[in-house]
């Protein structure tokens, strides 16, 4: 694996080929906020919080750092007025679902997000997919999955598999960025049907 050199927030950063911008930043101690990222899982690119700006001036473009691969000579900006504004809006959209989630409130403080900006939606789930993907990719049990699409999309346990696998595992619970309760609630509902 060869080494590449890129610039993140004015700092020269070394990375290996194949590393994403997010991984390169992490390795250099530069923090980029994420919700759907997990080091054991394939990059998902769903929460969009980890957006960064590439390049400079007119040709700047916004990408998500968890998917974008680090390149030699790349110039990355992790915070700007625009990025902060978009991150703030995304956090506010999440807070409409889970206004009391600790992780979200921390982010809200950092970005000045208003938890009441958008009308509330009665669901904790922010669709990061961590439970679904962890169960599939790490545990290979496929006990929990997504159903439906768009705004109706939600997580759902397969009762037959959950009854056998979930009680002794529950490793997905602590992954949930809003409330572990969410997974527990959906699991209970699946098993009581």
């Amino acid at each position: 694996m060869s080494e590449i050199l890129l610039e993140i927030d004015g700092q020269k950063v070394k990375a290996k080929t194949g590393m994403t911008v997010l991984e390169a930043a992490k390795a250099a101690g530069i923090r980029i906020p994420t919700l759907c990222y997990h080091e054991k899982l394939e990059p998902y690119g769903g929460c969009r919080l980890c957006i960064v700006e590439l390049g400079a001036g007119e040709r700047k473009k916004i990408v998500v750092s968890c998917v974008y691969l680090a390149e030699e000579g790349l110039v990355v900006t992790t915070r700007s007025e625009k990025i902060d504004r978009i991150r703030r809006t995304i956090i506010e959209l999440y807070l409409a679902h889970a206004p009391d989630a600790f992780e979200l409130l921390e982010l809200a403080k950092e970005y000045g997000a208003d938890r009441d900006r958008f009308a509330k939606e009665a669901s904790f789930c922010v669709h990061c997919g961590l439970c679904v993907r962890y169960c599939a990719e790490v545990k290979k049990k496929f006990a929990v999955g997504f159903v439906d699409r768009g705004t109706r999309k939600e997580i759902s346990f397969v009762p037959e598999i959950a009854a056998e696998e979930c009680w002794d595992c529950k490793e997905c619970f602590p992954l949930c960025p809003t409330e572990a309760l969410q997974a527990a609630f959906v699991l209970m509902r699946a098993l009581s049907l």
Binding site: A136, G145, F146, V147, V158
Partner: protein
């Protein structure tokens, strides 16, 4: 739908996991909905996790996990129909048969769906019942069309 028939459909597609959607489409078109037993069989034969099948069966509009009514009403909500008053036609249908899009009435007589363009824009507003197109619908006439179905 029995497992033999499901197997036949799967065999037709050489039992390849990539043909999952095509297999489900065929079951849906023959049976008008996807029974749980058929989905389980498909999962076993194609070696696809149940979670993936359920996501597909709920993601795509063509599939239904519950039985459908004897008559399937599709109200076109394409742009041309929309600006020509399709919303008002849909209001009348909802009133007359008492269900919302995506629902089936208790007697299993009608299932109501909205579709995003049937491509008969010259005839808008359009509704389709059991594959027959009814064009240039006025809200006042819609109830009469529904009376023809038993």
């Amino acid at each position: 739908m029995d497992n033999d028939r499901v197997d036949q459909i799967i065999d037709k597609h050489n039992g390849e996991a990539s043909s999952l959607i095509q297999v489900l489409l065929e079951i849906q078109s023959e049976h008008h909905w996807l029974p749980k037993s058929a989905l389980e069989r498909v999962g076993e034969r194609l070696q696809v996790p149940r979670t993936r099948i359920l996501h597909i069966a709920t993601f795509y509009k063509a599939f239904s996990l519950v039985p459908k009514g004897r008559h399937e009403i599709n109200v076109c909500m394409g742009t041309a129909c929309h600006v020509r008053g399709a919303g008002r036609v849909l209001d009348v249908i909802e009133d007359v048969i008492g269900i919302k899009p995506g629902e089936t009435d208790l007697e299993l007589k009608f299932s109501l769906e909205t579709v995003n363009c049937l491509g008969c824009c010259a005839l808008g507003p359009v509704l389709e019942i059991d594959g027959t197109t009814h064009g240039k619908m006025a809200p006042g006439e819609t109830a009469d069309v529904l009376l023809n179905y038993e």
